[in-house]
Amino acid sequence: MKHVDEYRDRELVKSLAFRLADQVKRPLRFMEVCGTHTMNIFRFGLRSLFPADLEVVSGPGCPVCVTDSADIDVCIAAAENENVVIATFGDLVRVPGSRGSLAESRARGARVEIVYSPIDALELARAHEDKLVVFVGIGFETTVPTVAAAVAQAARLRMDNFCVLSLHKVMPPVFARLLAGNHQLDGLLCPGHVATIVGRRAFEPLALDYGLPCVIGGFEPVDIMQALVQLAELAARREAKVVNAYPRAVAEDGNSSAWRLVTDIFQPVDAQWRGLGTIKSSGLAIRDVYAAFDARRRLDFETETPAPPSTGCRCGDVICGRCRPVDCGHFGGSCTPGHPLGPCMVSSEGSCAAFYRYGEH
């Protein structure tokens, strides 16, 4: 962790807090769009270091939180097939759809395994030759390359009992959707992980088309504070451009070989976002050549999913920065991490969970 320590330097963080206070001369509203930013801002107590005039809201950066209830229903339909073993990352299991959660399906006898990487899911498929292992692919640009690699490997090994249920999404279209409305934002803290893959340049249209200052930030306390200082500087000058404050990981054009692998296997598709509806070309579906690894083509899903019961959960507003978790009537009462009503409270990266866990109530 040597390399991490220098980005957790107490004195450096303090001096950046002073610089930030210096730069914020009028009320400013920034949005961060990455679950890891959300979490780390809370966990390191950085909010206590922000000047009173700076508000930092969370955007749709937590993959579990933006997953639509209808997509959860599709996962559950897959899980109910007795030949299927579902492999997924932990958080998704507890997200309620319109007919309960994967955890509840598991309690009723469905096979739902938690894995830490898509490679684990391949292992699972090898260990269960008589079952179809369905890996639920969830995540943004950062996560898709490893899933693409797993599909490529399965194809190479001619595995016929592994497939992916892709709920993957890409970020630029959702930014465009958010910013096209009345967003009342003065700056965007862009996600460093996504930028590592897509590169700095990919964010340029956001700055240019919407006149918004953008800074790509890393995840350690020093990274975050540094990025916010630069964002405040840009906002003070009302300068719309994309600054890379995370150059140790992010290049101008990103990691093109990783992205090439993704585009080999996936193609853009319209996708449903919780709270935002359908966004054109914001999802990734498996290409025809790899149809054998596409769960949607391997399994028959009911296309009609009932509208989710209205619980009054405001996750859709929370992930668009339209309200704070504490503005939701359920927060901390009928909705807690132990008994979550919406994905923002389930995911460890969700805003509601962060507000709850780190005591903003």
């Binding site: 957790r8 107490r10 390191f44 107590g45 950085l46 206590s48 807690t336 460890s348």
Partner: protein, 339 residues
């Protein structure tokens, strides 16, 4: 298929000959003492003057063996520590086992060896016991329950109700070792063998402190499930006080910090099995810390915070990077079967 003789079978739980053999060969040979040996329906203990502490806990940890310990050591140390947290000196333990049919005898023997060793270290006897064998699938390998009785010396009054503003908060050593070790082991994450459970009996170090600092220790609590954060919050609520904690003073082993970082887990929420939080009179906190440092159970003890008279239940963490946030108890346990 393993040889029937090498496994625990339903016969072993039948109360017949096989059961007697199991008790003799596996248990009595290892745990022998004058109160257990007669195998009566209950053990008879002399009644002391004063007060008794009585506690029970069940252990279902998966896997049974992990670096630094196993379910047997955990079952003894956990119950001994629960007694010690009230300032009680352990007098006797009970041992109940629920065994899944088919458990290799060799596994059972290793666990009982470990129970014997832990009991010897803690200086307490297992005086009564019970074994049940259930059908395959009705339990997972082995579950253990231990109860413990301890005596509390006259005048010793240790409980969260005694905590008051100004008290120093000491953590007796590094945090999160047990929780992260079991998790890494269970998920086969292999962090280069650098993680070890901290399972340890705290009764000796507690007894020494209680004797040397009469009235100096207001409350003790072992931060097991839910970790240091949950324990602090609970005590803040029960004692109606506030607390300030300084993150940089909280001891954390380097490999544990790295593993938590990789897994995105907050070490303040991870279980400890050989540590305690001490709430102590500020007049003697320096002396208590020195005494802890001389003891194997407290070499890395650190003053991590202070009780204040703010809003009841409010625990503020001053983060290592000079930020501040509230600490909250763990909800929605992410790590079942950790102990």
């Amino acid at each position: 298929m393993e040889n029937k003789k090498d496994c625990v079978t339903l016969d072993h739980g039948s109360g017949g000959l096989a059961a007697r053999e199991l008790v003799q060969e596996v248990f009595l040979s290892r745990l022998n003492n004058s109160r257990l040996a007669p195998l009566e329906d209950s053990a008879v203990l002399p009644v002391a003057n004063g007060r008794l502490a009585f506690t029970t806990d069940s252990y279902v940890v998966d896997p049974l063996f992990f670096p630094g310990g196993d379910i047997g050591a955990l079952a003894v140390n956990g119950t001994v520590n629960d007694l010690a947290m009230r300032g009680a000196v352990p007098l006797a333990l009970s041992l109940g086992l629920i065994i899944e049919e088919g458990l290799p005898l060799e596994v059972l023997e290793r666990v009982v060896d470990s129970i014997a060793a832990a009991a010897e270290t803690a200086g307490v006897d297992v005086v009564t016991g019970d074994t049940k064998v259930v059908h395959r699938g009705a339990a997972d390998k082995l579950f253990i329950n231990t109860s413990g009785i301890g005596s509390i010396v006259e005048g010793v009054e240790i409980s969260p109700g005694q905590v008051r503003p100004g008290d120093g908060i000491i953590l007796s050593g590094t945090m999160a070792d047990h929780g992260i070790t079991v998790l890494a082991e269970r998920e086969d994450l292999g962090f280069g063998g650098q993680l070890r459970s901290d399972t340890f009996a705290l009764n000796h170090v507690v007894a020494a402190l209680v004797e040397h600092f009469p009235g100096g220790i207001h409350a003790l609590r072992d931060p097991t499930r839910g970790g240091v954060a949950t324990t602090l919050c609970e005590i803040a609520v029960v004692s109606g006080s506030s607390m300030e904690i300084w993150e940089e003073r909280v001891p954390l082993n380097r490999p544990v910090a790295v593993a938590c970082e990789i897994l995105g887990i907050d070490p303040f929420f991870l279980a400890n099995e050989g540590k305690c939080l001490l709430f102590v009179d500020p007049a003697v906190e320096g002396e208590i810390l020195k005494a802890l440092h001389r003891h194997p159970g407290g070499k890395q003890a650190s003053l991590i915070g202070r009780v204040t008279d703010g809003e009841a239940g409010r625990v503020v963490l001053h983060t290592a990077v000079a930020g501040q946030r509230l600490m909250t108890p763990l909800t929605g346990d992410p790590l079942p079967r950790i102990c």
